[in-house]
């Protein structure tokens, strides 16, 4: 289908770029002001170009490593654990949703707890998880998994329940077995909901992993962040991590969206049709 040609100045991309430019200007004005009133402006609000410069600088800031190397090494440790926790949480969440749909008893037991778990500040419990597991790597995985598990389970269950009873009856009339009904009807219907849950969970898993890092020195992003704040190394490591984690958070949502498009190409087409 040929898209009607839109002038660039009225395109969505242009508007987004203008907003980003406004934000950058506001930041720079703030930084210029801070520069005049503070003795160490880079602790409060450095210029954006200073942060970019520090990314490409080859000057060693700690232990013979440049700021960029420190951030990337730390990111590998943190994101790997966040990824494992996310995968485990997703698996458990999907499995529990399926169990809850299959068994009324499981649903009755688990559903109130699924409600309560979203009201409990799990991240506030991170230190105690560290106390119990005694290992920072395991704690990161556990916390990321708990935070992932809830949105995935809740959304998948909503998806499984959104199947119209007539469709179930139709499958029954075709003498489909229960496993067949699930594989061909319930799970495909629930998949878009499942991906929505993952989109909510992905940035949570990363935040959780970074937060757990701050509790103990083990070279994760959060650990470097707090060390840099305490001036154990260049403060620009801190600023790099702030931007890095924000960018990774956004990218994690995009990654799930991409996975969704690859897994459900027809879904997207169907949505386009229903819009048209």
């Amino acid at each position: 289908m040929a898209q009607p040609r839109v002038h660039f100045t009225s395109s969505n991309l242009f508007i987004t770029l203008v907003w980003i430019a406004i934000l950058v200007c506001a930041w720079e004005i703030g930084a210029a002001y801070i520069e005049t009133v503070k003795r160490t402006p880079e602790n409060v609000l450095p210029h954006l170009w200073q942060i970019v410069q520090s990314v490409f600088s080859d000057k060693a800031v700690a232990g013979g490593l440049t700021a960029r190397q420190i951030v990337l090494n730390a990111a590998a440790a943190t994101l790997a654990r966040a990824g494992i926790g996310f995968a485990i949480g997703t698996g458990i969440g999907f499995g529990l949703a399926l169990l809850m749909k299959l068994s009324g008893i499981v649903e009755k037991i688990a559903f109130p707890y699924l409600m309560i778990i979203q009201m409990i500040p799990i991240l506030g419990m991170a230190p105690i998880v560290l106390g119990i597991t005694g290992d920072i790597g395991q704690s990161r995985i556990v916390i990321a998994a708990i935070l992932t598990f809830y949105p995935v389970a809740a959304n998948t269950l909503a998806g499984l329940k959104s199947v119209e009873p007539e469709k179930d009856s139709l499958f029954l009339s075709y003498a489909a077995t229960r496993p067949q009904t699930y594989v061909k009807l319930y799970i495909p219907v629930a998949l878009p909901y499942f991906f929505t849950g993952m989109k909510i969970a992905a940035p949570l898993a990363i935040t959780a992993s970074i937060l757990v890092d701050t509790l103990q020195g083990d070279g994760g992003l959060g650990c470097m962040l707090s060390q840099s704040l305490k001036h154990a190394m260049s403060i620009f490591v801190f600023w790099q991590i702030v931007f890095f984690s924000a960018i990774v958070g956004v990218l994690s949502i995009n990654a799930v969206t991409l996975a969704e498009r690859l897994a459900l190409p027809n879904e997207r087409r169907a949505r386009k049709w229903s819009k048209a």
Partner: protein, 266 residues
């Protein structure tokens, strides 16, 4: 569909029974064997209850500090977020772009946001307690404003088909359309946003306390007591934090029922 009495009773009995089983496993230390931990890091419920009862004044002091941050930030953030969404709904073309950029804030970890805000607010007041509270409230308010602006914008613009055209055909001006159509339409969406915002504000308050200059608050107590290896005390504060989370959510559900009961269904 009317639920049968049997269904409703089992819906209450089963979860309560599950909790009872967990509590028994916990008290008899079977849970400790499963998790591979000891009563020092994972104290028995009776022990935690005794600490709670023995530290009431100190716990209340920290609870009130945390509540100031949670509800102060929540109120400011929601009003600001709604204001942003109204502004965006006035000129949707630019508004959507702005909201898309704001939405990116959603992905910024609180851990990165809190130290930035605390550094920025060092000159607010000479009193460390005041400026630290201001910083924490700003962190909570920022996160609330993001979620509220995105949710309320949908409520203000996602109108029933032709309802706006109908009002236009009555020669209604923009103010009337806003007051009679957009505003009422956004109310259920405000509550949907609040269901995300209320737990978020509790969590972000606890975490901003980790980084705050002034040492007070439930979150800070959890962390500091664990650093001091006072696990039982930390658990007592965790119980308080969970209580705060559940209580504030319950209040929200109650308000939602009172406000939306007759006119709106969410």
């Amino acid at each position: 569909m009317e639920q049968s009495v049997k269904d409703r009773v089992s819906g209450i009995v089963l979860p309560v029974a599950f909790a009872a089983v967990l509590l028994v496993l916990w008290q008899t230390q079977a849970l400790h064997a499963i998790l591979g931990t000891d009563t020092f890091t994972f104290p028995l419920p009776g022990h935690i209850a005794r600490i709670l009862a023995g530290n009431v004044p100190k716990i209340l002091e920290n609870l009130s500090a945390t509540c100031t941050v949670v509800f102060g930030g929540l109120a400011i953030g929601c009003v600001a977020g709604y204001g942003i969404s109204v502004a965006a709904a006035m000129s949707p073309r630019w508004g959507v772009g702005g909201l898309r950029v704001i939405g990116a804030f959603n992905a910024i970890p609180i851990v990165a946001l809190a130290p930035v805000v605390i550094n920025l607010t060092r000159d607010v007041s000479g009193d460390v307690e005041v400026r630290s509270t201001v910083a924490k409230i700003i962190v909570v308010a920022l996160l609330c404003a993001v979620v509220m602006s995105l949710g309320a914008y949908r409520g203000l613009t996602d109108l029933k088909p032709f309802s706006e055209d109908l009002l236009l055909s009555y020669a209604a001006d923009r103010k009337t359309i806003f007051l009679k159509l957009r505003l009422p339409n956004s109310v259920p969406h405000i509550f949907i946003a609040l269901r995300v915002i209320v737990p978020t504000s509790v969590i972000s308050a606890l975490i901003s306390e980790y980084f705050a200059e002034y040492i007070i608050g439930i979150g800070r107590m959890i962390r500091d007591n664990i650093t001091l290896a006072q696990y039982a005390t930390a658990w007592a504060y965790i119980v308080v934090a969970c209580g705060l989370g559940i209580a504030s959510y319950a209040v929200l559900l109650l308000v939602e029922k009172l406000v939306c009961g007759k006119r709106w269904r969410t």
